[in-house]
Symmetry: C2
Subunit: 318 residues, 2 copies
């Protein structure tokens, strides 16, 4: 299965090269090409292609869907990097760092504009797919808005899940829904795939936070470091607020004068001492159960391959 | 007819108030509401509603189309204001000035996401409309890219028209196309409406530049002032480059050390002395002929009302 997902990634990236013949203003397309060539896991398009193959859908439709979800994902990354003032993405300079903010705003817009064009090229059950896709764009914006808003407030894990569902969950959900809708499969299967995708997305978003605590000895985790700088909320900080209340607020006050690196070390120690990492892992398990309970409700022939692919995505180590 | 367009504007703005009950993250929706309430001519949605009424289309479909084109227009304004570092829009602070860049990037994205959702709600011939709409989003991005790119180079009037077609022309074109497609009218009518809309949009974009020269005595024109600061290309500077060559380049060098206000005065005098304003007015006339030639090819009953509405849009004084 591992090999399979890599195969889909390779197939996707080979198709992506066609895009680079696109002509038009260099101001727009140079940063877009730079970003699209910078790599990434290509997980979302790989899921679409895998499920599309499995359901024996038209490969052209599925490739257009794969391009549509990846462009949408990249649009959100480019604009999130501006908002979070992150300088690195996929181990190279972000667009606003290499060029400037104006280039990053516009090339993000361009990526966001390319997505729906490819979704529009899907030939079967296009309108139903487009309507879902269009809702997802707005929900991703809402998720990013919560992410920014929550920098200035304490949130519990319900708020964290709301944010994660919108930031990450709905796009994974869409990747599971599109192949089923395109196939014209029955609504029961669509509902199961939809729930599997959404909860897998939530797991995907929260898992990084948990891995950070496990990897204290390793090199400084880029994400939690930048998270601390901007006071970003993670599953761990939201569970700490929810379960430890005043004690957590006091701890935050106590570390506020330290530098980011020391803050991070103290934070991870605090989370371990108070077993917040255990609570976080329980949260992951809760969503894993939701995923695999729904996998078990799928028709027999679906269960093993879907199960394998999901396990692979969940088991990733970085 | 004048009254009529105002009527459509009022109908549109009344519908827009429904939007303000939208719930969700304040970080996203507060700037969106602020911007949508700040006014504007609402010309694009008014065109859609007028043509929709005229063709006896379903009013709900036309209102959704009107919202779809206006949200797209507003998305591009919010992001253009970031890129051009403009502080004022509709006589109030721009979003990035009142809040910050991150808010403006995200609320622009939100406006861009709302557009397709309303277009998706159209019930008749939705897919054909959505496909055109999706192409237009990318073309608007390309137009803005040329606008940014041209800050650093001299361009002739062909380049200027290319930029204007994409920045403004294609969205006017879409406003003329959507009601016809929704109606299911024949392809000949669609082609005529399409050409009328595109050329009207080009006129609309270049007319401001020409008006600036006529209004030298009036208070400092915001747009050309900001244009000069950023070395933006107008129909006038592109015609000057095309027709005066070296002389124009020398003039640009000569004024480069002056402040923006003096530069503007000298520029306008130079353009008048060299009759570039006359050339620009000839350009407007060229596109007016294109528009009205196509109006004359319309079925008889269309000609007078379309003619009146277009004349009204072209005759605006600000």
């Amino acid at each position: 299965m591992n090999d399979n997902l890599h195969l889909y990634k390779a197939r996707f990236e080979s198709e992506l090269t066609n895009f680079f013949s696109q002509t038009g203003p260099k101001y727009l397309y140079d940063p877009i090409k730079y970003f699209m060539l910078s790599g990434g896991k290509r997980l979302r398009p790989s899921i679409v292609l895998f499920l599309g193959d499995f359901l024996k859908n038209n490969p052209n439709d599925m490739m257009n869907a794969a391009l549509g979800v990846e462009f949408l994902h990249c649009f959100s990354l480019v604009h999130d990097d501006i908002m979070d003032e992150d300088d690195l993405r996929h181990n190279q300079e972000t667009i606003h760092k290499k060029w400037d903010n104006a280039s990053a705003v516009l090339s993000g817009d361009g990526l966001g504009a390319l997505g729906p064009i490819y979704i529009s090229k899907i030939e079967k059950n296009t309108l139903e797919i487009l309507r879902k896709y269009n809702r997802v764009i707005l929900e991703i914006c809402e998720g990013q808005a919560y992410d920014m808003q929550f920098e200035n407030q304490n949130i519990d894990s319900d708020d964290y899940i709301l944010m994660s569902s919108k930031k990450t969950g709905v796009l994974f959900q869409l990747c599971f829904e599109i192949p089923v809708i395109n196939n014209g499969e029955n609504s029961e299967l669509l509902e199961l795939f939809s729930l599997i995708g959404l909860n897998l997305g939530i797991i995907f978003q929260i898992q990084d936070d948990v891995l950070e605590v496990d990897n204290l000895e390793s090199d400084i985790g880029k994400s939690i470091f930048s998270d601390i700088k901007r006071n970003k909320k993670t599953i761990l900080t939201s569970l700490a607020f929810e379960h430890l209340g005043e004690n957590w607020l006091d701890f935050q006050n106590n570390i506020s004068q330290h530098n980011h690196s020391l803050k991070r070390t103290m934070l991870i120690q605090y989370l371990k001492d108070n077993k917040v990492d255990v609570l976080a892992r329980e949260k992951v398990d809760f969503y894993k159960h939701k995923v695999f309970d729904n996998v078990k409700k799928l028709p027999k022939i679906f269960q093993e391959p879907i199960n394998d692919t999901i396990s692979l995505i969940i088991r990733r180590k970085k």
